[in-house]
């Protein structure tokens, strides 16, 4: 499983029953930061959401049980209750995404603290459901449009 993504590889720093930490270097000579913005390159904030989401999905592979015959550990993002950006991330910054499970009752709830060496850059809360049928996305893709 490797879904489409605008962000390169994440390095897994730590993983355990309560969550995981991953890291990546904000790209320096990437066309994305060249266009965001010309003369003042900053990493688009949504890339921090992308990093947190991928950290959760990687973690889920080994930590979320399978359901209804679906492949084990597949989860789908259903909500972002909150996302607060504290300061911009610049090209070359080392970014750490520290993701913790905070609740297992009403679906899977995660708290992500994203930081660089200058401090906290984002706080994100994401909610997931365990995927119970692999064909769901495909049916949606072929539905009335």
């Amino acid at each position: 499983m490797s879904a489409a993504t605008p962000l390169g590889d994440l390095e897994v720093i730590r993983t355990g029953p309560q969550g995981a930490v991953t890291a990546f270097d904000a790209p320096v000579d990437d066309p994305v930061v060249a266009g965001h913005y010309p003369g003042f390159p900053v990493l688009p904030g949504v890339f921090l959401i992308e990093a947190a989401d991928r950290t959760v999905r990687q973690w889920a592979h080994g930590n979320v049980p399978a359901r209804d015959g679906a492949e084990g550990g597949e989860v789908d993002l259903v909500a972002m209750d909150r996302c607060r950006f504290h300061r911009p991330v610049f090209p070359g910054d080392r970014v750490l995404a520290d993701v913790t499970v905070t609740d297992n009752a009403a679906g899977l709830l995660f708290r992500a603290a994203v930081a660089t060496n200058r401090g906290k850059v984002a706080d994100i809360r994401l909610r997931y459901r365990v995927r119970d049928g692999q064909e769901m996305d495909v049916r949606e893709a072929e539905g009335a449009a």
Partner: protein
């Protein structure tokens, strides 16, 4: 074609190249609402790493880029009448927060995302916006509150030399 094309978009917001994720503004009521579209294509960079063995679901357009595309539509509405196409000449648009977001259907190459944006509140150089994204009749995204602020480049730079480099 009705509405406003890339020319008007690029003379309004500073996003360029791969990360400019709005193709056309269909309707705008300045200070109130805006509808914009973005066509998803299989040749976009996010699909480049996918190999021959990729499953159909792997081609779901990244959720983060749907949010970015909607957010650029939101910024278009907030600065429509006071364009800010060059961050070095003007100010830089930075997202403060994105709250109460729900994700619905996924979108795929061939889909056209339709972003609907409403201005909830604008105070000084901060705006709060809300809205939805549809792919045809499918709801892809719903955003309760997006807060965006215009800030001076100089107050954001991490080190003095970066300001000099940029200017």
């Amino acid at each position: 074609m009705t509405g406003y094309g890339i020319d008007r978009i690029k003379s309004t917001i500073p996003h360029r190249g791969q990360i400019l994720l709005v193709d056309r503004v269909r309707r705008v009521v300045p200070g109130q609402s805006l509808t914009a579209v973005k066509a998803i294509s299989g040749n976009e960079p996010c699909y480049a790493p996918l190999g021959q063995d990729a499953a159909p679901a792997d081609y779901a357009y990244p959720t983060s880029l749907v949010v970015e595309s909607w957010a650029q539509s939101a910024v278009l509405l907030s600065v429509w009448e006071a364009p800010n196409p060059d961050v070095l000449a003007g100010k830089v648009e930075l997202a403060g927060s994105i709250n109460e977001v729900t994700f619905g259907a996924r979108a795929y190459p061939g889909d056209v995302l339709e972003h609907r944006v409403r201005l909830v509140k604008a105070v000084d150089e901060t705006a709060i916006l809300a809205g939805e994204t549809y792919a045809g009749s499918r709801e892809v995204l719903r955003i309760g509150a997006f807060v965006v602020a215009l800030r001076d480049v100089a107050e954001l730079a991490p080190a003095p030399e970066r300001v000099l480099t940029g200017v």
